[in-house]
């Protein structure tokens, strides 16, 4: 019998390949429960990625218009819930700018120390979670262990592990505990050791490196035009750090470097964060040197600062002051102000509008990872499906702040 004629024309060999639609999240282990990515795939390549947020929209800005200025603190805690203290300090600075207040030096140092601790916990969480999502579970345990140590210090200071609500207009809720410095000096080396350890486990791991390197890269110009800030921007090589560019608190008096990357890919973002952990340690050490142990913590302005609790119980003046501040709220002069600090993910801005009453007329937060997540789809398109997890993880998208 004759041989089979295998000369088929090309068309018949081609498989039908219309793009496949894949829905990732919102309840996906790597999507932090709050993001949904509708993917358009051809094979394993992402043709189009539609990032949908808003699953954790909690009406932060609307709620702020209902309470007093001081009642906003618990809400800002829960914006970037990985580094609440930075949000606290940022908001306090914003309102103080509007009131024309400046807090005593001791408070400024204290705010810096707590803020940098929060930054450490932020970066630990981000890098740890990212590693875990890539299957490296052990370093995650290491990092979380280190984060627990940070939280121990913060808990000792504020009484809460995570959501401190510790900032106040014109100061902080409590002065530093006597053994604050001791705790930091004892804790920081251990934390850094753990970071080293986890780092060694990851950065000598070829699989890990291969999955990060040259993945999710973005150019300087794009990053800037997209409004990226923080580690994600610095990973592209732009040394824009508000602590350097527009120093607030006492950042101009301490000595630290701004780690930057070169390629702006996922690995750079990972390394920049690790580098910042070390810089934060440096800052904290200098703060501990320079923070006075005595002296006032809160500025003495009875219109915004609460009186001593025992005085409230015993004297009518303090009772009235407390009553006015709690029930009516501190009166903030009318005007508008935009105040920005370096948050865990970048420029954390507050745009406040006051009508002179005890209630904010408008509190607008500028969440750094809103724009960062906004750029996600651009750096995903054209990549492979498996690149989503490391890329998304390295952006450190925090639902509370991204969705307001």
């Amino acid at each position: 019998m004759e041989a089979l004629d295998l000369e088929l024309d090309a068309g018949e060999l081609e498989l039908p390949a219309e793009p496949m639609h894949l829905n990732m999240g919102p309840s996906h282990p790597a999507m932090h429960g709050t993001v949904r990515i509708v993917l358009e795939l051809s094979g394993e390549t992402i043709v189009k990625a539609d990032v949908q947020i808003g699953y954790l929209h909690r009406g932060f800005e609307k709620m702020c218009e209902r309470g007093t200025w001081a009642q906003v603190f618990p809400y800002v805690d829960r914006l970037n819930y990985v580094s609440p203290m930075l949000n606290n300090v940022g908001y306090a600075l914003a309102v103080e700018k509007l009131c024309g207040l400046s807090v005593p030096d001791r408070c400024q140092w204290y705010r810096m120390a707590l803020g940098e601790l929060a930054r450490i916990s932020d970066h630990l969480t981000c890098d740890g979670a990212m590693a875990m999502e890539l299957g490296a579970f052990t370093p995650f345990l290491w990092f979380v262990k280190a984060r627990e140590m940070v939280w121990d210090i913060l808990e000792e200071e504020t009484g809460a592990r995570l959501t401190h609500s510790f900032g106040r207009i014109g100061g902080m809720a409590e002065p530093p505990t006597p053994d604050f410095k001791g705790l930091c000096r004892a804790g920081l080396p251990k934390i850094l050791d753990l970071v080293e350890e986890g780092e060694r486990m990851l950065l000598r791991n070829r699989i890990f490196l291969d999955r990060l390197e040259n993945v999710g890269a973005i150019s300087r110009a794009d990053a800037i035009a997209l409004g990226w800030t923080g580690p994600c921007l610095r990973a592209t090589g732009v040394p824009y750090d508000i602590r350097k560019a527009h120093p607030y608190l006492k950042y101009d008096e301490v000595d630290f470097d701004v780690p930057v990357g070169t390629k702006g890919d996922t690995l750079d973002r990972f390394l920049v964060r690790l580098g910042e952990i070390r810089q934060s340690k440096r800052i904290i050490e200098q703060v501990l040197e320079r923070m006075p142990d005595e002296g006032p913590l809160n500025c003495d302005d009875p219109r915004v600062v609460l009186p001593d609790k025992m005085a409230v119980y015993t004297t009518i003046e303090a009772t009235i002051q407390h009553f006015k501040l709690i029930m009516e709220g501190a009166r903030v002069p009318s005007g508008e102000v935009y105040s920005y600090t370096e948050g865990g993910n970048g420029e954390l801005g507050y745009y406040l509008v006051s009508d002179g009453s005890g209630t904010p007329y408008r509190v607008r937060i500028r969440p750094p990872c809103f724009q960062i997540t906004g750029g996600l789809s651009k750096i995903l398109e054209g990549r492979m499906l498996s690149d989503i997890v490391p890329t998304f993880g390295s952006l450190n998208m925090i639902g509370g702040e991204c969705d307001h």
Binding site: P29, T34, V82
Partner: protein, 202 residues
């Protein structure tokens, strides 16, 4: 566990069998092998991480295995605020889970909506799905969560489905009365000042 232990002790293990009620055995088996589905949305997720981490180590209670497919899991951790937009997703996932299934309301937001009393937040997931254990706290400490887990295990053992709430270990009312006693005992309240400050420090 109790029944099994006792019957084993009575019968003696050399006889190689134990007698117990089937539901008790099932309950015992179930409560120590909870496959959990972490439905993590918000702040409480940080504490959930801490819960799974070495210090608090939820695996001591046999509930560490996360299954990200609802069909394979029987304990739904609703961790964090549920927005109206998230509502259908939550309901869908709950419906996909196989019976018997249990639900944790992890944190105040999941339990009542917390202080997000506004246009976008579901005021408590029990508006949408039934809840077995409410864990208050914003976010709750891991210890409280472990309390809730033990509470749930107890309920599973007893086959009870009434919702339960994790109570604080220390009764706040008691503390208040203590403060009042202090306040009354002192003639001049200002005399209390240093003592209380010390108390706060320690």
């Amino acid at each position: 566990m109790g029944d099994v232990n006792r019957s084993l002790a009575l019968q003696g293990s050399e006889q190689g069998y134990a007698t117990t009620r089937l539901d008790a055995l099932l309950g015992w088996a179930r409560k120590y092998s909870l496959f959990s589905y972490p439905f993590i949305t918000a702040c409480c997720g940080m504490e959930f991480m801490a819960l799974t981490s070495p210090r608090f180590d939820v695996s001591r209670f046999g509930a560490e295995v996360p299954r990200f497919s609802p069909r394979q899991s029987d304990l739904l951790w609703v961790v964090g605020t549920i927005s109206q937009r998230q509502g259908p997703v939550l309901k869908r996932i709950y419906e996909q889970m196989m019976a018997p299934k249990w639900v944790f309301a992890f944190g105040t937001c999941a339990a009542t909506g917390g202080f997000y009393d506004n246009y976008t937040t579901v005021p408590g997931i029990d508006k949408i799905i039934p809840v077995d254990v409410y864990i208050p706290g914003c976010p709750p400490r891991p210890e409280a969560v472990l309390d809730g887990l033990m509470l749930l295990q107890d309920k599973i053992q007893r086959g009870e489905r009434r919702p339960g709430v994790v109570k604080p270990r220390i009764d706040p009312a008691q503390q208040v009365s203590e403060l009042v006693r202090l306040r009354r005992s002192a003639g001049d309240p200002r005399a209390l000042l240093p003592a209380l400050r010390e108390e706060k420090r320690s």
